[in-house]
C-alpha cells in the first residue's frame, strides 16, 4: 500500500480518501493503480497552480492497495468520504464500461468462498462495531475483460476509461467545500 497526499498540507485526517484497488500484475486489474498514479500527478499539479493563501482544496488522500476484504479494514476507517476505484466483472456490459454506484445500491450475497469476503462486508463490519466509518461511499468500477492473467496487457477499452475516472474523482474533489486557511 502506498499513500500520497495531493498537496502539501500539514498532516491531518483526510476528508476524502480515494481507495484504488487492483493488482498491477493482473492485466485489467491494474486499472485502479493506474488511476491512482494519474490522480496523484493531477492533484499535485492542481495544488501547485492554486494560491495557497486564501483557501486550500479539500483534503484528498489517494491510496493504492492490492489487498482484499478484511485486509482493507484500516483503509475503510477514519475518513468522512470514501471513493473506491476498482474493477468489476458483471458480465453484462462491454469492457471499459464505467459503473458508478453508491454503497447501498449494491447488495452482496455471502460469498461462495471466504476469499470473496468483499469490501462491503468489511464496511458492514466497521459500522456494526462502531469504528469510524465513512459517511458516504462512492464506487467507480470499470468493467474488465481479463483479471486473471499474470503479466497480461490491459484491454484497450479499459485503458480508455482511465481519464473518465480521473475526471470524475477530480469533480468530486472540486465540489467539496473549501476550508478556511488557518
Amino acid at each position: 500500500m502506498e499513500k500520497s497526499s495531493g498537496h502539501n498540507e500539514p498532516v491531518m485526517a483526510a476528508r476524502v480518501r480515494v481507495l484504488c484497488l487492483g493488482n498491477e500484475l493482473l492485466a485489467d486489474d491494474a486499472f485502479g493503480h493506474v488511476v491512482a498514479d494519474r490522480l496523484v500527478s493531477e492533484l499535485s499539479r492542481n495544488a501547485g497552480e492554486e494560491s495557497p493563501a486564501a483557501t486550500a482544496p479539500a483534503d484528498i488522500e489517494v491510496i493504492k492497495s492490492s489487498l482484499a476484504g478484511l485486509g482493507l479494514l484500516d483503509e475503510l476507517t477514519g475518513v468522512s468520504r470514501l471513493i473506491v476505484v476498482d474493477s468489476v466483472q458483471t458480465g453484462n456490459a462491454p469492457p471499459g464500461t464505467l459503473h458508478i454506484l453508491l454503497e447501498d445500491e449494491l447488495r452482496t450475497p455471502a460469498g461462495p468462498s471466504p476469499h470473496y469476503f468483499g469490501i462491503f462486508e468489511s464496511l458492514g463490519l466497521v459500522r456494526r462495531l462502531g469504528l469510524p466509518a465513512p459517511e458516504e461511499v462512492i464506487i467507480l468500477a470499470v468493467e474488465t475483460a481479463d483479471c486473471t492473467t499474470l503479466g497480461g496487457n490491459m484491454h484497450p477499452a479499459v485503458l480508455a476509461a482511465i481519464p473518465k475516472v480521473v475526471q470524475r474523482v477530480a469533480e468530486v474533489a472540486a465540489s467539496l467545500p473549501r476550508k478556511a486557511a488557518s
Binding site: 489487498l67 449494491l106 469476503f117 486473471t148
Partner: protein
C-alpha cells in the same frame, strides 16, 4: 450528495442475458465460460438424477511465463502481490526457495524470526477466518436464513464486544508484523540466507506481551467454538454427515516429531486409514505430487504420483489427497504445544478417532491451529536467541534450483524456481493450496449436487448447500479477489442427458437467485 450520482453509464442491474447469450450451447467450453462466475454444470441421467457435476471457477493463469526472465531474488516481493488474501505465505515460501536456490542456511536467530513472524501471521489469519469468514456457516448456523449468514449475523450472535476484541487482536498482531516485516500487507522481511531486520530487546518485549494475549484469545475462541458449535447436536450431526465426508489421503508439513509446523519440516502423507503413506523432504515433492488435467477446468488437480490418477474417487482406491487445517491434524501425530495438544486429543476423541474425514471439521481444526500458532509465537518470543543480531548468512554459491514449502493458512504452498547462473528464472512452478485440494473440492460439489437434485427437481437451496461443501476449504480461485463486489456470482445449470439445459439457477451480485 456528491457530484457523482448514479448515471446513465451505470449498468449494475444484472439480467438474465448471460444465460441467454449461448442458448444452444450444450457442451462445456472453458474458453468461452463467463469470467467472474463460479459455474456448476450438472448432467442428469435418464431418471433425472445426477450423473456428473462439474465446478468451474476463474483461475489465475500464466505464473510460469510471468516468472521467466525475472531475477529470482525479486520473487518474495512479486509473489506476495499475486494474492490479496495471503501475501505473507507467498513471501515466506519464496524466501525459503531462495535459501535453497543459493544453498545457504539462515543463522538460528533468522530462522526463529521468520517463524515468529509467520506464527504471528497465522494467528491473525486463523482468528479472522474463524469469526468473520467461517463464522456465517458455524457461528450463525447452516440452517439460518441466507440473509443472516454473513458477518453481521456473526456479530449479532457473539456480541459487539467480541467483535471488537477480534479487531483489537488483529491490530496488535499486524503492528508486530509491520515491526519486523516493514509492512504488514507486503512484507520485506525475507532475504536468501536470513532476514532484513533483527529483533531488538524492545521488540521482543512487545512480542512477548502480545503473544501472551494471543494465547488467552485463542483459548477464549476455542471455548466459544465449544459452546456455540459442539453443544449443538445439529451442528455436530451436520459435521459428521455423509454428504460432507470424503475418505482421502492427507498432506501436511511436520517437524521431526511428526507434529504440525507451519514454517518448516518434512511433508507427511497419511492414508484414508490413517497410516503413514509417505514422508519426504520438500525438494522431493515432484516424486510424490503430480497434476491431472481435465478438459472442463483450468485448475490442475494434484494427486499422489506413485499411485497414479484414479479419477475422482475416495476410499482405498483413491489417489487424491487434501491439505489445510483438517489435513494437517490428520497428517500429524501430535501438536507441538501443550494447550493445542489437549485440544487435538479432544478433537479426535469427539469425532471418532483418526483420521477425521469430515470436511466441515476444518473449522474446528482451524481453531486448534490458532491456539498452536499463538503458543508457538509465545515460545519463540520468549527464546533468548531471538534477539541475536546475527540474522544473515551471505550467499556465495552459484544459484541453480530452489524449492520452498510452507503451510499457508489454507494448506501446503510450494514454490519451485530454476535459474541460470546469474539467478534469472528459467523455469518456475507454483502449487497453491487450492490445487492440492482441487480434486476433493470437485468431489464435494458433485456429492452435494447428487444429494440435493433428484428426479430433475432442483431446489434453490442447492446453491447454499453446494457452497458450504467448498467454503470449508476456503479455496482461492484466481487472485483478483478484490474485484468488486467481493462476492462471486454463482451459476448452476442442469442438463438433460441430451445436453439440453433444463434449469438454470443464478445467484447474482445483488444476492438474488434467478431461475430460468
Amino acid at each position: 450528495m456528491s457530484n457523482i450520482e448514479k448515471t446513465a453509464e451505470t449498468s449494475s442491474e444484472p439480467n438474465a442475458a448471460v444465460t441467454t447469450q449461448h442458448p444452444r450451447r450444450i457442451t462445456i467450453d472453458p474458453i468461452t465460460r463467463l469470467e467472474g462466475h463460479g459455474k456448476i454444470e450438472v448432467f442428469l441421467d435418464e431418471q433425472g438424477n445426477v450423473s456428473k457435476a462439474y465446478f468451474q471457477v476463474p483461475e489465475l493463469r500464466g505464473f510460469e511465463k510471468f516468472a521467466e526472465g525475472r531475477p529470482a531474488e525479486d520473487m518474495p516481493q512479486i509473489t506476495s502481490r499475486i494474492c490479496g488474501v495471503c501475501p505473507t505465505a507467498h513471501h515466506m515460501a519464496a524466501t525459503k526457495a531462495l535459501d535453497a536456490l543459493y544453498q545457504v542456511t539462515p543463522p538460528p536467530a533468522a530462522r526463529k524470526i521468520r517463524e515468529l513472524f509467520y506464527s504471528t501471521f497465522m494467528t491473525e489469519d486463523h482468528a479472522l477466518h474463524f469469526y468473520f469468514l467461517g463464522g456465517p456457516d458455524f457461528i450463525v448456523g447452516p440452517q439460518a436464513p441466507a440473509a443472516e449468514r454473513n458477518v453481521l449475523g456473526v456479530i449479532a450472535k457473539v456480541g459487539i464486544e467480541v467483535g471488537k476484541k477480534v479487531i483489537e487482536m488483529r491490530r496488535k498482531l499486524r503492528e508486530l508484523m509491520a515491526l519486523v516485516g516493514g509492512k504488514a500487507a507486503h512484507p520485506v522481511l525475507g532475504l536468501p540466507g536470513g532476514v532484513a531486520k533483527r529483533v531488538t530487546a524492545d521488540d521482543q518485549k512487545q512480542f512477548q506481551q502480545v503473544a501472551a494475549q494471543a494465547v488467552d484469545f485463542a483459548q477464549f475462541t476455542l471455548a466459544t467454538f465449544e459452546s456455540v458449535v459442539l453443544k449443538n447436536s445439529d451442528y455436530v450431526q451436520l459435521i459428521c454427515s455423509e454428504m460432507f465426508t470424503h475418505r482421502t489421503y492427507y498432506l501436511g508439513l511436520m517437524d521431526e516429531g511428526n507434529r504440525v509446523n507451519f514454517y518448516d519440516g518434512s511433508l507427511r502423507v497419511v492414508s484414508p486409514e490413517g497410516k503413514e503413506y509417505a514422508k519426504f523432504r520438500p525438494e522431493q515433492y515432484l516424486d510424490y505430487v503430480a497434476e491431472h488435467v481435465e478438459p472442463w477446468s483450468y485448475i490442475k488437480f494434484a494427486f499422489l504420483k506413485p499411485l497414479g490418477w484414479k479419477g475422482f474417487v475416495d476410499g482405498p482406491e483413491s489417489s487424491i489427497y487434501c491439505v489445510a487445517p483438517l489435513a494437517r491434524l490428520n497428517a500429524a501425530e501430535a501438536m507441538a504445544t501443550p494447550l493445542a495438544q489437549d485440544a487435538y486429543q479432544k478433537f479426535f476423541a469427539t469425532l471418532g478417532g483418526k483420521p477425521v474425514h469430515h470436511t466441515l471439521a476444518n473449522h474446528w481444526a482451524r481453531v486448534i491451529e490458532l491456539l498452536y500458532a499463538a503458543e508457538r509465537m509465545k515460545e519463540l518470543a520468549d527464546d533468548p536467541e531471538i534477539i541475536d543480531p546475527n540474522v544473515r548468512t551471505l550467499p556465495t554459491a552459484k544459484p541453480k534450483e530452489g524449492i520452498g514449502v510452507v503451510e499457508a493458512p489454507r494448506g501446503t504452498l510450494i514454490h519451485h524456481y530454476q535459474t541460470d547462473e546469474r539467478g534469472i528464472i528459467t523455469k518456475a512452478n507454483l502449487i497453491v493450496a487450492t490445487q492440492n485440494n482441487a480434486a476433493r473440492i470437485a468431489m464435494s460439489v458433485e456429492k452435494a449436487a447428487r444429494g440435493l437434485i433428484t428426479r430433475g427437481n432442483v431446489s434453490e437451496g442447492v446453491l447454499n448447500m453446494v457452497e458450504m461443501a467448498f467454503r470449508a476449504y476456503d479455496p482461492c480461485h484466481g487472485c483478483a479477489t478484490h474485484s468488486l463486489p467481493g462476492s462471486m456470482p454463482l451459476l448452476l445449470r442442469v442438463h438433460e442427458p441430451s445436453g439440453n439445459v433444463v434449469a438454470t439457477l443464478r445467484r447474482d451480485f445483488d444476492g438474488k437467485i434467478q431461475r430460468t
